[in-house]
Amino acid sequence: MPPMANRVQVLRNTTLRIRKHISLTMGAVVVLAVVATALIGPRLTPYNPERSNLDEKLLPPVWQSGTFQHPLGTDGMGRDMVSLLIAGARTSLLISFSAVFLTLLIGCTVGLVAGFLKGLVGELLMRLVDLQMSFPYFLLAITVASVTKPNLLTLIAILSLADWVVYARLVRGMILQESEKDYVQAGIVVGASRARIATRYALPQVLPSIVVIATLEMATMILLESTLDFLGLGVQTTSWGVILFDGRQYLATGWWITTITGLVIFVTVLGFNLMGDGLRDILDPRLRLVR
């Protein structure tokens, strides 16, 4: 029979774990809902999000003397808010997802190479990581974005420069740790190539951590992308940040435009953060202190 204090501790840990599962479930539900809405978007949108109708501009949402024809009201150009938000979800999620994916590719490749080639190449790559870390990224991003007037692809490229170092450092650290282990040494002895050991055997070891980071990075990217759009430096397509950028001038006459759009961004980002937090506890408790 364990002492009382111990049992209380065990009980508390269990409730903590269950609570984490709750956060994972909540996050996953939100994320799935948003992604599903974005995917079947065009079939859902009651109106063409690009169609402006100046006769119906700045109609308030339904709970504030609005009508059910435009449940969330219309924006300054008479576009239906629901349709706009769904179209925005498509753009914002597509850009963020591509940026996360590209970041992951760049970061992991750099980390793998730097981890296995410890010589000059590895050293150079890590100096590059240091350089990136010691410069305020956002300043660079807005400069590049403002001079290139980005389209979808250039914006994804700019966003990908943000956080590749996170993956690079993680992967390199783990590779260095793994390469001390017997199975890697054994692999070298039986003549497996370095690239093969790295990608087939060492990389899977860091996969859980990468999944966790990528989930949390989705949250970061959605925020970053909408910030660039909000500053007028992003894409011209309808995205959440662009709706906010347009809505800023109607702050006094159409408060719902910015308020609702920001709320949608907040809930989506919260979903990804909750999901990432929950995944971290299940897949990789070690990561807790890293970020």
Binding site: S134, S146, F266
Partner: protein, 307 residues
């Protein structure tokens, strides 16, 4: 120690030159001729040629870069296209405003993060701990610009309590600083809590308690001192976010700092100004990080900095 400082200073100088070169290159890759852009429509061709010679735009790229760098070395940061005067004084005049805003924001964030993190670590699972956790995950998910817009909406548009557009008086700094504080709070809160949990499990805390030291003294002096090593690391990283955040916040609140100058210069394609801001900001950033490294040594004498 002095050897270490010297080496870090040399690294920093290298970094700043790197920034200057990178920004210069980015700005020269733009489609569109700066001379044409700055000339008013209908300017005679000869005048535009004059601009081109004046700013050295007619020379080859390499020559332009070297001229630019050697001028920099002599403290000549160039002439603003928009203001027609030297860029550096204008940037330096705005810099104190931004430093005031960011340090106030950071101060507010620490004022919340430290007590909340310490109490959360002290009583894990209590309502105050849960409040901290919810605050950190919700705060992490809030778009900074949205928080700013909501504050403008409530305080300036509806309540008319604070000036949305204003001077540099204390009233005009409150809302932007609060917005900025909320943006940097979550990571600070998290690190204080995890570090404190780690420190509190160590033997010397128990020893201190056995010796009868008061709880506040143990928690807020002995334990916090050791927990703050992790905090300082995170602070160093957060400085970058503070700079980014202040650009956004200054835009929303029309706060006359470097961030707003940057956005206006980007819109006006005032390249010398953009270059100067990038250099001034990265010098500030590098100096703060150097300071962070030095504080390390003070906080933890075990960390031996090698020359």
């Amino acid at each position: 120690m002095s050897k270490f400082i010297l080496r870090r200073l040399a690294q920093s100088a290298f970094l700043v030159v790197g920034v200057a070169v990178i920004v210069f290159c980015i700005l020269r890759f733009i489609p569109g001729d700066p001379a044409l852009l700055m000339a008013a429509p209908g300017t005679p061709k000869q005048a535009i040629e004059g601009y081109r010679t004046l700013f050295g735009l007619d020379k080859p790229f390499g020559v332009q870069l070297i001229t630019y760098l050697s001028k920099l070395a002599h403290g000549d940061f160039g002439t603003s296209f928009r203001y027609q005067t030297a860029t550096l004084p204008i940037v330096l005049q705005r810099l104190p405003n931004t430093l005031r805003l960011t340090s106030l924001g950071l101060f507010i964030a620490l004022l919340i993060a430290i007590p909340l993190g310490v109490e959360g670590a002290r009583r894990r699972g209590s309502w105050i701990d849960r409040f901290g956790l919810v605050l950190s995950i919700a705060g992490q998910s809030l778009p900074v610009f949205w928080v700013g817009l909501l504050l403008v909406l409530v305080f300036a548009v509806h309540l008319r309590l604070l000036p949305a557009i204003g001077s540099v008086g204390w009233k005009s700094i409150v809302l932007p600083a609060l917005t900025l504080a909320l943006a940097v709070l979550p990571p600070l809160l998290r690190i204080v809590r995890t570090q404190m949990i780690d420190v509190l499990s160590q033997d010397y805390i128990m020893t201190a308690r056995v010796f009868g030291l008061s709880s506040p003294r143990i928690y807020y002096w002995y334990a916090l001192k050791n927990a703050s090593i992790g905090l300082v690391t995170v602070l160093g990283v957060q400085i970058g976010y503070l700079i980014g955040g202040s650009i956004v916040v200054e835009m929303i609140f029309n706060y006359p700092g470097v961030g707003m100058l940057m956005m206006n210069s980007l819109n006006a394609r005032d390249f010398p100004m953009i270059q100067t801001i990038a250099i001034v900001v990265s010098v500030t950033f590098v100096l703060i990080n150097l300071l962070v490294d030095l504080i390390y040594g003070l906080l933890d004498p075990r960390i031996h900095v090698e020359g």
